[in-house]
C-alpha cells in the first residue's frame, strides 16, 4: 500500500515542480475497486495495478476503494467524472446498481472499462470493454474437474456433493454457482448436489458450514467451494472429522493456501486465476481504448483448470 502512496507523492511532487497541478502523463486513469482488504486477491490486484501503472510512463492512476459499499462506489464514480479523468476502470460492487453511474461517465465522454466481474447486460452499451475472468466458465470448469475425478474414481453414478458458495448477492458468487450448477448435470447427470450454503468468502464461516454438513450427511464425496479460501475452510473441517480422505475438494480462484493443500494431496483442483493478470489486463484494455485500438467488448483473460495432476505447470499464487 505504501507503494501507491510513494507513487502518488512522487508523481505529485514531480508534477508540482513542473507545472503546478497539471499532469505529466498522457492519460489519467481512475479505478474504483470493490473492497480492498476483504481478501488478498483484491489486495494483490491493487498492488499489481499500481505497479503496472507506475511502470508505464504514459499513465497516472487514481486508485479508490469502495469498501464493498455500492453508495460509496457510485460517489467515487462521480468524483472521477468530476475530476475529468481520461478513463475509468470499475470493479463493480453490484453489477446492476452501478449502471446509471456508468451511463453518466459514458455521457461525459469518459470510457469505462469494467474489470473482474461484469455489469449486467443493460449496461453493455455504456461500457468500452469488460476485462476479467469468465466466472460462468469458471463454474463450468470446476464442475468438469469434479466430474472427471469422479469418473476416474468410478463413482460418477453415485457421488453426492455439497456446495459452499460465495457471499450472497455478489455477481462472482452467483455466476460461479450458476456455471457449476448448469454444467454438472450435463457432464455427470447422476451426481447429486445435496445442498448449497454460503460461506461468505470467509474461511471460518465455510468451516462452520462444512461442520454442519458433515453431521448432516454421512456420505459426502465432493465439495465445491466458490473460492479456495472457503475450500480450505471446508477441508479443515473434514480433516478435524477424519473424513478428508473420502472427499474430493474442488474450488476456484486458486489461492496460495489452496495450492499448498494441493501439494499435500489433500485438495484436488481449482481454477487458476491470477490477480496480476487481471489487473494488468484491465490497465492494458484501458490504454488500448484510449489509444483508439480495436478492443473486443468482452475481453476475458484465460483462467485454466488446475489440479494435482498439472499443478507443476503453474507458479504458486502470491496471495
Amino acid at each position: 500500500m505504501n507503494l501507491k502512496k510513494t507513487l502518488v507523492v512522487s508523481t505529485a511532487l514531480a508534477t508540482f515542480a513542473m507545472a503546478g497541478a497539471a499532469s505529466a502523463a498522457d492519460f489519467t486513469i481512475g479505478i474504483t475497486q470493490n473492497n480492498v482488504g476483504v481478501d488478498s486477491y483484491q489486495t494483490t490486484y491493487e498492488k499489481a495495478f499500481i505497479a503496472a501503472a507506475e511502470a508505464n510512463d504514459k499513465v497516472d492512476a487514481v486508485v479508490l476503494d469502495a469498501g464493498g459499499d455500492v453508495a460509496r462506489q457510485i460517489a467515487q464514480m462521480e468524483d472521477l467524472i468530476q475530476q475529468k479523468v481520461d478513463a475509468i476502470i470499475i470493479w463493480p460492487t453490484n453489477g446492476q446498481a452501478v449502471i446509471p453511474a456508468v451511463r453518466k461517465a459514458f455521457g461525459a465522454g469518459i470510457p469505462v472499462i469494467v474489470t473482474n466481474s461484469n455489469i449486467a447486460a443493460e449496461g453493455a452499451e455504456f461500457i468500452a470493454s469488460f476485462s476479467g475472468p469468465d466466472n460462468i466458465t469458471q463454474g463450468s470448469r470446476s464442475a468438469e474437474i469434479m466430474c472427471d475425478k469422479f469418473k476416474e474414481m468410478g463413482i460418477e453414478d453415485e457421488a453426492q456433493i455439497v456446495q459452499i458458495s460465495g457471499q450472497p448477492g455478489y455477481t462472482t458468487a452467483i455466476e460461479r454457482a450458476a456455471g457449476f450448477e448448469d454444467r454438472l448435470p450435463e457432464v455427470c447427470p447422476n451426481v447429486t448436489l445435496m445442498e448449497t450454503q454460503p460461506g461468505d468468502w470467509n474461511r471460518e464461516k465455510s468451516q462452520q458450514v462444512m461442520e454442519a454438513f458433515l453431521v448432516k450427511y454421512d456420505d459426502i464425496d465432493g465439495v465445491y467451494s466458490g473460492d479456495d479460501n472457503m475450500g480450505v475452510g471446508a477441508l479443515n473441517a473434514a480433516k478435524a472429522a477424519d473424513r478428508a480422505d473420502d472427499i474430493i475438494f474442488v474450488g476456484a480462484t486458486n489461492f496460495a493456501v489452496g495450492y499448498e493443500a494441493m501439494e499435500r494431496g489433500e485438495y484436488w483442483g481449482s481454477i487458476y486465476q491470477s490477480p496480476v493478470d487481471d489487473a494488468e489486463a484491465a490497465l492494458k484494455t484501458a490504454i488500448d481504448v484510449l489509444e483508439g485500438k480495436d478492443v473486443p467488448l468482452l475481453n476475458y483473460f484465460d483462467t485454466p483448470k488446475i489440479t494435482q495432476d498439472n499443478m507443476s505447470e503453474f507458479d504458486k499464487p502470491v496471495f
Binding site: 499532469s23 468524483d79 453518466k104
Partner: protein
C-alpha cells in the same frame, strides 16, 4: 467563570463547523500537492458533489438525531434501507401495476415509503409495549430485518432498471441535483419539527427527563412510536432517492450504515443519553464524515489509512467534547 461557560457552549455548538473548515483547508492545500486531479478540491462543482454524496446517510441521520434526542437509538436502519429499495424496485415489475406505464413510479415510491414507516413502527411498538431497551430491540431487528431482506429474494440482487426513474432521480431542477433538494426538504422539515413543534420539544423533554415527561402528561409511548415511524419514513426516503438512481439492490446493502450514522450524529453534538442535539449539527456531522472519506480518497490515502483516521478522529472529538463539558478542577471525581 460564567464567560468561560458561555464560550465553551458556543465552541461546542460550532465545533463541528470549525472541524469542517479545518478539513476543507487541509484537503484544499494537501490536494494541490498530492492529488492527480486537475480540478481543485474546493471547486464549487466538487462541493456540490460532496453534498450530493452525503444525501443517503444524511437523510437517515436526520431521523437518527430525533431518535437519539428522544433518548433511544436505532441500529436497524441498514436493513430497512435495503428492504425499502427491494420494495421500490420489485413493485415496479408487479403485473397488477403493468397498466400504469411509468405512472408505476409514484406508486412504488409510496409503497416503499409505507414499508419503511411500518418497519419503523414495529420497532417503536416493541420498544413501547415490551419496555425492552431500544438498543437491544433494534439490535435484534437489525438481524431480523436483514433476514427479511434475504427472505424476499434469496441471495439474488433485486433489480429493475427503469430509465425514466433514473432520469428523474438524476434531474437537476434549478441547476441543483434532485437528491440535494430532497435532502434540503428533509432538513427543513426535521429542523422545523425539532425547533418549532410541540412534538419536537416533547422529544427533548422525554430524552432529558423521562419521568418528568410522564408526570407532565406527555404520552411517552406513542411519542416514541411516532419517532420510529419518522426514522423509518426517512430511511425509506433516503432509500428511494438513492435506488431510483441506481436501479439495483444487493441484500447486503446498508450494512454498517448504523455505525456511520451514529458517528455522524454524535459528531454533530447530539447527546447519546438524549435530551440534547440539533439537526444542523447532524448535517455538519455527515458532511464532516463524507468530506473525510472524499478528501482522503482525493489525496490518495488507502483503506487502512481511512479506517485508522476516522476511528481516531471520532475518539479525539469525543475527548474534546468532554473537555469542553468539564466543570474544571472542582469537579466531583465520581
Amino acid at each position: 467563570m460564567m464567560k468561560r461557560t458561555i464560550f465553551a457552549k458556543h465552541l461546542r455548538e460550532s465545533a463541528i463547523w470549525i472541524f469542517i473548515a479545518l478539513e476543507l483547508a487541509f484537503f484544499g492545500i494537501a490536494g494541490e500537492f498530492l492529488s492527480l486531479s486537475e480540478g481543485s478540491f474546493l471547486a464549487p462543482d466538487n462541493m456540490l458533489l460532496l453534498i450530493k454524496q452525503t444525501v443517503p446517510l444524511g437523510i437517515i441521520a436526520l431521523g437518527m438525531t430525533i431518535i437519539m434526542i428522544n433518548g433511544n437509538i436505532d441500529l436497524s436502519v441498514g436493513p430497512i434501507f435495503a428492504l425499502c429499495a427491494i420494495v421500490l424496485l420489485d413493485t415496479m415489475t408487479w403485473p397488477i401495476f403493468a397498466g400504469l406505464g411509468d405512472w408505476v413510479i409514484p406508486v412504488s415510491w409510496t409503497l416503499a415509503i409505507l414499508v419503511g414507516s411500518i418497519l419503523g413502527a414495529i420497532n417503536g411498538l416493541i420498544v413501547w409495549k415490551t419496555g425492552v431497551d431500544a438498543f437491544i430491540v433494534t439490535l435484534g431487528s437489525m438481524l431480523g430485518y436483514r433476514g427479511l431482506v434475504f427472505l424476499y429474494n434469496g441471495e439474488q440482487p433485486t433489480y429493475h432498471l427503469n430509465w425514466t426513474l433514473v432520469d428523474i432521480a438524476e434531474s437537476t431542477p434549478l441547476g441543483i441535483p434532485l437528491p440535494i433538494l430532497i435532502f434540503a426538504g428533509c432538513i427543513a422539515f426535521t429542523w422545523w419539527l425539532t425547533k418549532r413543534t410541540a412534538h419536537g420539544r416533547n422529544a427533548f423533554a422525554i430524552g432529558d427527563n423521562r419521568t418528568a415527561a410522564v408526570n407532565a402528561g406527555i404520552r411517552v409511548g406513542p411519542h416514541m412510536v411516532w419517532n420510529y415511524v419518522l426514522i423509518g419514513f426517512l430511511v425509506a426516503v433516503s432509500s428511494v432517492t438513492f435506488y431510483s438512481a441506481s436501479g439495483s439492490v444487493n441484500p447486503n446493502d446498508g450494512m454498517l450504515y448504523e455505525l456511520w450514522i451514529i458517528t455522524a450524529v454524535v459528531l454533530g453534538g447530539t447527546k447519546l443519553a438524549g435530551g440534547r442535539g440539533s439537526i444542523i449539527g447532524t448535517v455538519g456531522g455527515v458532511i464532516a464524515i463524507q468530506l473525510m472519506r472524499k478528501g482522503l480518497g482525493h489525496i490518495g490515502a488507502d483503506t487502512a489509512m481511512v479506517n485508522l483516521v476516522i476511528g481516531s478522529i471520532l475518539i479525539v472529538v469525543l475527548y474534546i467534547d468532554r473537555q469542553l463539558n468539564r466543570k474544571g478542577e472542582q469537579e466531583l471525581k465520581a
